[in-house]
């Protein structure tokens, strides 16, 4: 009687064991799949993180009109007059002073 019970138990546990093993294998493959997907996803993020940040020049550069205004300011008559008045021609006689001293010592 006891033997019969044991045999029945064994025959019942075999398919359970089989399905459990199958489940484990399937779980293993699912985990591997998740892991590989995770790796791929994080790789893309890592690469993106090191990409140079592209700043469009149009948003950074100021509009051209103020630059042009600054450039044109040098042709105002007040500025020109100021620069023209800065010209100094040295006195020629002063420049000849050393030569004259030498000549006088002859």
């Amino acid at each position: 009687m006891a033997e019969e019970n044991l045999e029945q138990k064994n025959s019942n546990s075999n398919p359970t064991k089989f399905f459990f093993l199958l489940f484990l294998i399937a779980l293993f493959f699912v985990l591997i799949g998740i892991w590989s997907w995770w790796q791929k996803a994080t790789k893309t993020i890592r690469e993106r993180r090191f990409e140079p940040v592209f700043v469009p020049t149009t948003t950074v550069l100021p509009s051209p009109s103020p630059i042009l205004e600054r450039k044109t300011s040098d042709d105002r008559t007040t500025e020109i007059e100021k620069d023209l008045n800065d010209f100094n021609l040295p006195s020629l006689d002063q420049e000849f002073k050393e030569i004259d001293q030498d000549l006088n010592s002859l």
Binding site: P64, S65, L68, E69, K71, T72, D74, D75, R76, T77, T78, E79, I80, E81, D83, L84, F87, L89, P90, L92, E95, F96, E98, I99, D100, D102, L103, S105, L106
Partner: protein, 249 residues
């Protein structure tokens, strides 16, 4: 039919684009801003500034070219001046026989050549600055002209100043490339007069170059005075849409 329309559109586009481009520098020299806007009724501010930049660049290139010409010529002359100096030393040794006087005369001759180089460099600097100032005057005059103001007097003065600067530059170039021949040394008594004559020759030459530089400066000043006499001239900029300038009677 479609093909004809396409060809017509392309040709019109090319012609329109070429109309908006200001004439560039002529191969014979710097074409000033006034000359560039003369044949135009409308000029865009960006175009105006681009042309100014181009004119400035040409002016600077010409200045560098002239400086290099003078520098190369001076390098050539250096050995010749050294030869003349040696000849002078030999004559002094033979005919004067006074070491102190020999040294003084040699020093004077050296100083004459150095002074010529220094002064011509200085005059060239002044003329280069005057050229840049005249370009600024011309730019302001062109803006006034584009705003229909009468700038005929300023234009005339600008032309005179351009000629005066060119004349002075030519004189400076000739002066910079000049060699001063030392006098023939005969005896101790005439030594001072002989060297004195050389000094006088340099003085007179530099004085005449200086006079031309001063004339150029005054010509530029005259153009500026005429420009400043135009009422509120500094307030005018290149107009967005410029009406056709009316010919002055």
């Amino acid at each position: 039919m479609k093909k004809r329309v396409v060809i017509f559109s392309i040709v019109s586009l090319i012609l329109t684009t070429s109309c908006f481009a200001l004439p560039t520098s002529s191969p014979f020299g710097v074409k000033g801003m006034l000359e560039r806007v003369r044949q135009r009724s409308a000029v865009f501010q960006r175009e105006f500034e681009q042309n100014r930049g181009e004119i400035k660049k040409i002016i600077e290139q010409n200045q560098v070219e002239l400086r290099n010409q003078i520098k190369n010529k001076r390098e050539e002359l250096k050995s010749k001046i050294e030869q003349l100096r040696e000849r002078l030393k030999n004559q002094l040794r033979e005919k004067i026989k006074n070491e102190v006087k020999e040294k003084i005369v040699d020093r004077v001759y050296q100083r004459i050549n150095e002074l010529n180089e220094r002064m011509t460099n200085h005059y060239l600097n002044v003329l280069e600055k005057l050229e840049k100032i005249l370009e600024r005057i011309e730019s302001r005059t062109a803006k006034a002209k584009l705003n229909n103001l009468d700038v005929s007097k300023v234009e005339e003065a600008i032309n005179e100043a351009t000629v005066a600067i060119a004349k002075a530059k030519e004189a400076v170039k000739n002066q910079a490339e000049k060699i001063y021949q030392p006098p023939e040394i005969t005896n101790d008594k005439t030594l001072k007069t002989d060297i004195g004559n050389l000094r006088k020759q340099l003085h007179d030459d530099l004085k005449s170059v200086e006079s031309l530089v001063k004339q150029a400066r005054e010509a530029v000043r005259k153009a500026l005075v005429f420009l400043a006499q135009i009422n509120k001239v500094d307030e005018f900029e290149v107009p967005e849409i410029t009406p056709t300038p009316q010919p002055t009677p």
